[in-house]
C-alpha cells in the first residue's frame, strides 16, 4: 500500500469520482458523434432518407478523398484561409488603430459616434455589390467583405474596452507626469488586453463569415465557392464535405486564439 500520508481516503474517493466523471463526459461526446454518423449512414443505406438530398458519411469521405487526390481540397482551403487571414489582419489591425485614434481625441470620438452606431447596425452583406464593383470580382472584394464585417465591431468594442480602464489608474500615471502616449502604452493598451483578445476571438469567426459570404457572391475558389457550386449542381456530398472542412478549420482557428490567450494573460492566473 503506497498511499501518500497526506492523501486521505476521502480525497482518494473524490479524485476517483472526478476522473470517472471526466471520462464519462469524454465518452459521451465521442459516442454522440459516432452514433450520429452511424445512424446517418444506416438511414441512408436503408433508404429511410434520400442520400441524394441528405448525403451520407461514406459519400462525404469519398468526396474528401477525391478532393484530396486531385489536390483541389488544399487549393480551396488555402484560398479561404488566406482571404480570412488578410481580412482579419486588416479588420482587426485597422479597427484597433482607429480605436486608439478615437481614444486620443474625445472630440473626434463624439463626432464619429452616431456614424459608428449606424454602420454597426447595417448588415454588411448589403455592401457586397458595391465592393464587387469597386474592388473587382476576385479575392479583394472578399477580403473587403471580411474587413467591413469585423472593423466596426472592433472599433466599438476596443473603444469601450479603453474606457473601462480605471480612471484612478490614469490619475496615478498623470501624477507621475506621464504623457498621453505613456498613458496609452503603459495602462490603456495592456489594461484592455482582455477586451483585445475578446475582439480577436470574435473577429476570427466574423471574418470567416465575411469570407464565406463574399465567396457566395463572387468567387472561383474557396470553401464558400465549393458550397455554392455544390448546391447549384445538386452535389450535396460536396456541400457537406465543404461544411465539414469549414467546421474543422473554424475550430482550429478558435483553438489557436485560445492558446494565444492563455499565453498572453498569464498574470490573471
Amino acid at each position: 500500500m503506497s498511499i501518500r500520508p497526506e492523501t486521505s481516503w476521502e480525497r482518494t474517493i473524490y479524485l476517483q469520482r472526478l476522473r470517472r466523471q471526466r471520462w464519462l463526459i469524454l465518452t459521451g461526446q465521442i459516442g454522440f458523434l459516432f452514433l450520429f454518423l452511424l445512424l446517418w449512414e444506416v438511414a441512408a443505406q436503408l433508404r429511410w432518407i434520400d442520400p441524394f438530398i441528405t448525403s451520407q458519411p461514406s459519400r462525404v469521405a469519398l468526396t474528401l478523398l477525391h478532393l484530396h487526390q486531385d489536390g483541389s481540397l488544399y487549393l480551396h482551403i488555402y484560398v479561404t484561409l488566406m482571404e480570412t487571414f488578410y481580412g482579419f489582419i486588416l479588420g482587426t489591425g485597422g479597427g484597433m488603430l482607429l480605436a486608439v485614434l478615437l481614444w486620443w481625441s474625445p472630440l473626434f470620438n463624439r463626432i464619429a459616434d452616431p456614424y459608428l452606431v449606424v454602420l454597426n447596425a447595417l448588415p454588411k452583406v448589403a455592401l457586397g455589390p458595391l465592393l464587387i464593383v469597386w474592388l473587382g470580382n476576385g479575392s479583394s472584394a472578399i477580403i473587403g467583405m471580411a474587413l467591413f464585417i469585423s472593423v466596426i465591431v472592433t472599433i466599438i468594442s476596443m473603444v469601450s474596452g479603453f474606457q473601462e480602464v480605471d480612471a484612478e489608474k490614469i490619475k496615478l500615471l498623470k501624477a507621475f507626469g506621464a504623457s498621453r502616449l505613456q498613458i496609452l502604452g503603459k495602462v490603456i493598451l495592456p489594461g484592455s488586453l482582455p477586451s483585445m483578445i475578446t475582439a480577436v476571438k470574435v473577429n476570427v469567426g466574423l471574418c470567416l463569415v465575411g469570407v464565406i459570404m463574399g465567396e457566395f457572391l463572387v468567387s472561383r475558389a474557396g470553401l464558400g465557392y465549393l458550397i455554392v457550386y455544390g448546391g447549384q449542381v445538386f452535389k450535396l456530398d460536396l456541400v457537406m464535405s465543404s461544411i465539414l472542412v469549414l467546421a474543422v478549420m473554424a475550430a482550429l482557428m478558435y483553438g489557436l486564439v485560445s492558446y494565444a490567450e492563455g499565453k498572453l494573460l498569464r498574470w490573471q492566473k
Partner: protein, 250 residues
C-alpha cells in the same frame, strides 16, 4: 527658494458642470515645513482630495496657487497596482515614466522592497499579495521616484481595521526613516493624531481651514504607541467637537 516644502496661498476652486456650479474650496492657505507630517481632516466630500489634486498639478485652481519645493509623490486610496506587472515592475512605473536610469532605479527599488519586507515578493503579481502588502508596495512605488513630499489620499481606507493600524504604523516609520515631508488626507481622526505633527481641520464644503492642532505627543513614538498616550484622548475629543459631526435622527 522658500523655507517651506509646500505653500498653499489662498487657493479656491469651483467646478463647472452644464447643470450647475459647485464651489469645492472657498479659500485655503497652509504651509508645510520640510520633514513635517500634516494631516487634513474634514467632513466627507469637503474638497480634501481636490486640494491634493491641485497641489500635484492634476487640477488647476480657480484662484490662488500651490507652490511646491522639490518633487511630489502621490499615494492614492487604493493601491492601483497594475495586475499585469510584477511588484518590481509596478514599483518601476514612476522611474520609467520619468525616464530614469532604469538600472539604478531597479537597484534602488529592490533595496526598498528588501528593506520593507517585500524582497521575496519582487517577482510576484499583485493578486498574489495581501491588501496590506499591496499598499506597502504602492508606497514603495511612490518612493521610487525619490519625492521630497508625499501626498497621501486616505491611503489606508481600503484596508481592514487590523491591517490599517499595522500599515499606518509601518508607513509612518518608513516616512520618518526616509525623512519625507507628508500631507495626508483622512477622515479617521485617530489616525490623523497618531501619525501627524499637525492636524488641520477643514469645514464642510466649500472648504476652508477651521483650525489647526499642533500635536505635541512624544516625537520618537510610533503611531501605535502614541495612541496609548494620555493626551491622545483629549486631542481626539477636541477635534471631534471641532468637526461637529451630526448624525441626523431618522
Amino acid at each position: 527658494m522658500s523655507a517651506y516644502q509646500l505653500e498653499i496661498r489662498a487657493v479656491g476652486m469651483k467646478y463647472q458642470t452644464p447643470q450647475n456650479e459647485t464651489e469645492a474650496i472657498a479659500e485655503i492657505s497652509l504651509t508645510v515645513s520640510p520633514g513635517e507630517f500634516v494631516s487634513l481632516v474634514g467632513p466627507s466630500g469637503c474638497g480634501k482630495s481636490t486640494l491634493l489634486d491641485i497641489i500635484c498639478g492634476l487640477a488647476e485652481p480657480t484662484r490662488g496657487e500651490a507652490r511646491i519645493t522639490g518633487k511630489v509623490g502621490y499615494m492614492l486610496q487604493r493601491d492601483h497596482l497594475l495586475e499585469w506587472r510584477t511588484i518590481l515592475d509596478n514599483c518601476l512605473l514612476g522611474p520609467e515614466i520619468q525616464k530614469y536610469n532604469l538600472k539604478e532605479a531597479r537597484r534602488n527599488v529592490l533595496y526598498l522592497l528588501e528593506r520593507y519586507g517585500l524582497g521575496s515578493f519582487a517577482h510576484y503579481y499583485p493578486r498574489q499579495l495581501s491588501g496590506g502588502m499591496r499598499q506597502r508596495a504602492a508606497l514603495i512605488r511612490t518612493l521610487a521616484i525619490n519625492p521630497d513630499i508625499l501626498l497621501l489620499d486616505e491611503p489606508f481606507a481600503a484596508l481592514d481595521y487590523q491591517t490599517r493600524l499595522a500599515i499606518a504604523d509601518e508607513v509612518a516609520n518608513i516616512l520618518r526613516q526616509e525623512r519625507k515631508t507628508a500631507l495626508m488626507v483622512t477622515h479617521d481622526i485617530a489616525e490623523a493624531i497618531s501619525m501627524s505633527d499637525r492636524v488641520v481641520v477643514l469645514s464642510a464644503r466649500p472648504a476652508r481651514v477651521k483650525s489647526i492642532y499642533p500635536i505635541e505627543l512624544p516625537a520618537g513614538l510610533s503611531p501605535l504607541a502614541r495612541r496609548q498616550e494620555n493626551d491622545f484622548r483629549s486631542y481626539f475629543d477636541a477635534i471631534w467637537k471641532e468637526l461637529d459631526v451630526h448624525v441626523d435622527p431618522a
